[in-house]
């Protein structure tokens, strides 16, 4: 099963990863992105993620479909969390299942790179002395 979701609830990495497993597959590669305490030496207190939800879901699904054309993979799952996230909490989980692990590694890495370029979600870093909306690299 492929799935693309946006949620305000905490993410369970293992549970998400297992949902992409078809019987013919032997490996899942999962990326678990989470809130860093330090960004360029500055201490983050917490983050707020905001998304253009319907468009973000469409873009996530496009990425999954494109990944399945580019790589020999079986299933893709992408779940992004929105709202306030504390240090160490998972913001995004991307799981890819495939019969051969090489393709799963490649597809998972491609998916996170593309997600950061195209999926309309924004991150605000909150410091002790201010806050800033992070701008991606386009």
């Amino acid at each position: 099963m492929d799935f693309y979701e946006i949620t305000n609830e905490p993410l369970n990495v293992g549970e998400i990863a297992r949902r992409v497993v078809p019987v013919e597959c032997g490996a899942i590669v999962t990326l678990d992105g989470f809130v860093r305490k330090f960004t360029k030496g500055r201490e983050t207190q917490y983050l707020v993620y905001e998304g253009y939800e319907p468009m973000a879901l469409k873009e996530m699904e496009k990425l999954g479909e494109r990944a399945k054309q580019l790589f020999e993979i079986a299933n893709v799952g992408i779940v992004h969390r929105l709202g306030r996230l504390e240090i160490g909490e998972t913001s995004v989980v991307i799981s890819v299942a495939s019969p051969h692990r090489r393709a799963a590694f490649e597809a998972c890495e491609w998916l996170i790179k593309e997600l950061k370029k195209t999926v309309p979600i924004w991150k605000k870093e909150v410091y002790a002395d201010g806050e800033i909306w992070v701008t991606g690299n386009g």
């Binding site: 992105g33 998304g51 468009m55 996170i112 999926v119 979600i121 924004w122 909306w133 701008t135």
Partner: protein, 79 residues
């Protein structure tokens, strides 16, 4: 003809709005429509902006129709 215009993150902060109604002449292109909106909120010019029409990235050539959903935002930073 009326459309909805959505702002997110930095563009919501700059405009003080998250969602507005906006009126255009018929048959306006996306490029011209977004230019008009930016003129109304000039603080948006401080940012490199991305534009969407009906939840798809716009290339500017789209013809805007009554009831369309437009969005203006900065380079995404999810993940």
């Amino acid at each position: 003809m009326n459309v909805q215009v959505l702002f997110f993150g930095a563009t919501a902060d700059e405009t003080g709005e998250r969602e507005i109604e906006f009126s255009f002449d018929e048959n306006i292109s996306a490029e011209r429509a977004f230019a008009e909106i930016v003129e109304k909120y000039p603080r948006l010019k401080a940012h490199k902006l991305l534009f969407a029409v009906n939840q798809e990235y716009a290339d500017g050539g789209e013809i805007i129709k009554n009831g369309d959903e437009l969005a203006i935002f900065t380079a995404v930073s999810g993940g």
